[in-house]
Symmetry: D2
Subunit: 290 residues, 4 copies
Amino acid sequence: MAKKIGFIGLGIMGSRMAVNLQKAGYDLAVFNRTPEKAETLLKNGATWCDTPAQLAEDIDVLFTMLAHPEAVSRTALGENGHLDSLKPNTVWVDCSTVNPSFAKEMAKEAGKRRVRHVDAPVFGTKKPAQDGTLAFFAGGEESDVEAIKPYFDTMGSSVKYVGGHGMGASIKMVVNVMLGQNIVMFSEAIALGRSLGLSQDMMFETLLGGPMAAPYLSIKSEKIKEGLYEADFPLKWMHKDLHLVAQTAFENEIPMPSANAIKEIFAKAEQAGLGEKDFAAIFDYIGSDK
Amino acid sequence: MAKKIGFIGLGIMGSRMAVNLQKAGYDLAVFNRTPEKAETLLKNGATWCDTPAQLAEDIDVLFTMLAHPEAVSRTALGENGHLDSLKPNTVWVDCSTVNPSFAKEMAKEAGKRRVRHVDAPVFGTKKPAQDGTLAFFAGGEESDVEAIKPYFDTMGSSVKYVGGHGMGASIKMVVNVMLGQNIVMFSEAIALGRSLGLSQDMMFETLLGGPMAAPYLSIKSEKIKEGLYEADFPLKWMHKDLHLVAQTAFENEIPMPSANAIKEIFAKAEQAGLGEKDFAAIFDYIGSDK
Amino acid sequence: MAKKIGFIGLGIMGSRMAVNLQKAGYDLAVFNRTPEKAETLLKNGATWCDTPAQLAEDIDVLFTMLAHPEAVSRTALGENGHLDSLKPNTVWVDCSTVNPSFAKEMAKEAGKRRVRHVDAPVFGTKKPAQDGTLAFFAGGEESDVEAIKPYFDTMGSSVKYVGGHGMGASIKMVVNVMLGQNIVMFSEAIALGRSLGLSQDMMFETLLGGPMAAPYLSIKSEKIKEGLYEADFPLKWMHKDLHLVAQTAFENEIPMPSANAIKEIFAKAEQAGLGEKDFAAIFDYIGSDK
Amino acid sequence: MAKKIGFIGLGIMGSRMAVNLQKAGYDLAVFNRTPEKAETLLKNGATWCDTPAQLAEDIDVLFTMLAHPEAVSRTALGENGHLDSLKPNTVWVDCSTVNPSFAKEMAKEAGKRRVRHVDAPVFGTKKPAQDGTLAFFAGGEESDVEAIKPYFDTMGSSVKYVGGHGMGASIKMVVNVMLGQNIVMFSEAIALGRSLGLSQDMMFETLLGGPMAAPYLSIKSEKIKEGLYEADFPLKWMHKDLHLVAQTAFENEIPMPSANAIKEIFAKAEQAGLGEKDFAAIFDYIGSDK
């Protein structure tokens, strides 16, 4: 019998992931804080639920893709939250970017209710979400990750089991701190070069694709040249992720002076009104004299 | 008639560069603060000079490869310096890593004496120096850079003309700040991941060669695994380069909070005794609890 | 009729505060994770309670003085927590250093149970706690703060009402970030001066008590001269407070690059094993070459 | 016979210092890059000199009060510089804020010409300069400092001999890094407090004059309340001083992560156009959302 999938969180990423599950023929029950974002899915047969609790009642697996730990906590444990309504042995796959200690806490809360928790953050932004080429790194029970592999295969091109509860969230922290830092230091380097009279084009040509530049910078350079910064990954979420990194570092007694310095550059840029733009807009913030 | 080349500065890099010039058949006059380093070159026919001034008297082109601006200034303008003794229209190619304002000052001092100055820092470390596969970025008069291209071709695999005096030094600042920052943020990220229970091997496998990691980190990861950190590029010179970057940023009124934060991490690591090791040793410094 | 006071948290500060309440003739019920710390109080007539819940049943006002928000949350809402057992209209005064959003959350949880919450962190360390000369800054309902003024007068020399729920915690963040930063920058300044050949004694004499130095540094300088750093305020709590500051700054979208930089210096010092020493030990950490 | 004093550098500070010397009856020869600033002094009998060299020919003691090391170097050693024209045994007192290694270099250059060098930076701003209540910290030969004490007494209320050449400049670095850091951290703390709903007036009242706040902040708070920031000490010079501190720290292998972080905040504020305002304007920069 076909499984029924619950999907909570239909933002930039979640909506595209849900569409791919639907296209693959899965029956979807959906919830989102702003119902408008569900329209296309509903038109194509998904069931709308008024609360996470209602959604939880009749599904076999639940995916959540939310903006931050607070949002996950609210949908799971808040009023009409999903956790008390899920059937025993349902697998709840949280694809949101959350800090590892939070993921472990959710796994514990799930466990109390005999719900199985997998933390499986996604790697990739809008385009791979749409194309179904995301990469997942999953933490939890290996058998659970194995069992839900077909769903991952629908939304992404790879899933890697990285260990027990919270390990997916952990590798996400490691990757995202590199994501955030690379663009900042590249922006500072180019700003310096421009002030010295070097042409930006020449520097891009010299650095991008070369040994000193993380390859993803080549992709972001398109946004920089264009100057519009339509958000694939909004700057405010990058700031939030760096905050989660800093919190995790504190909890684990790891000094991260560089990551914290970069966090504050994003803080200033967000304060300057760039939060909704793609995080590559930090390039303009750093290079401007505002 | 064959040209005679002067070469001052026979350290890790300079000695290998000079050997390649010698192998190509050029006649060399050499000077180094510690004469021992010249032995092999002398055995193979190079001429020893007791001072930069003496060396300068009878050469057609001069290469300098020194540790920092102060060393360049001393050999050029100090007692028995080379600048007052070079013949008019000699080209002085400074391959040292210096800050752009210093390179311009040297070009000006050279100009006063009708000496032609090219700032042509090298990209690459010990191995490419030995193999003659360095990359040069040259600033100065384009015709001068053109004229000395055969020498660059002997020591390296590419030379790029980037603009007027100081422009070679400028691109070097841009590149080296990225070189220094990447390894720091990679080290912080891995330290965080380890504290969360992720295996270092898994993280290396996941990150290196991927979109978030500058490709040169794959090379440095060999040193990290080995743990010996024999210096291709000593940590103290990286610290010095970041200091030159900070100075240049100040002169050009460019804020660089990230680069300055990283500079201080290298400062602490140097204070902790790691100055002579390869700068990749910052990985151990950041990851340790010392 | 005499009021009965509950007191949870008998560490460096709490034990001294409780003693002053007892000396003033109040009847105390106490709880502490490690019962040994309650011995003197019990000998002098205080009642031991096995859990916060048990303690909460029969008291008129509750004071908590705990190490961090997690500890407060555990004693309030964890298994056998106090919040479900307090009688309606009991005032719970939390003197712990917590972040403002946490204080507001506790006030909300208290309100749900008709318990009255006051956040009243203390200013002052071991000695003022012992002498009953602490300063309190209180947030909550003004009438509640007024009602409990006699207790504050017993433990301290001043209490200031600063506004609604969370405002006491707020001013604590403001003060403690200054406390943490002053000692770091003083330490850096002195380390620089020493490296230049200035005598530490001369610098202390010149700076302390002068216009550039926060007056509390004069007191800390005694610990510095002595070199033992017996904890009045352990470095690990200062690190924790700066973490709470950073978290609060994130929640309120306030960039704090300086505070975050200092936080990481404390992080490194704690990692180096200085967590249990007085936070003035950061002076030695910064000045050493370890 | 009355001594003749040379004075070079008639900015905010220098002009007021020279007036006090003149009022005390000393015969002055003056030079300034922009002659207009000398008008009052000339009207009252000072002699104008067209170059530092000309000024140097007929004086018994020379005071310089210039903006940065480059300006001092230019007036001393540049074209028509003063150093080659001073009579043997003349004392050159440099009151400019310069880095210690530069002060030592100047002392060495002076020594080569049998000129006696004293580095005596001033502590205090516009008002004390006008009132003749500056404090001087002097480095050099003790007998030279003793010999020129009468001049210091005219311009200031105290002079302290702190050691050999460069020691005056050294204590200045120590003091100014504290000056710069205090205002930044105070500004961050207040910005945080405001975001939490605390009133700025209440925080000023609570903190200023208290144990956590450097006393000079009380004076700067007047500028903050006024909001005009007429420069007693321009922000750009504070930025420059922090740069000299960072340079000195590098030369002496002292890590200063906090000072460097603060330096970059001033860099950003200067880039935002606040360079000519008093450095207390950093308060508005940090507190704004620009």
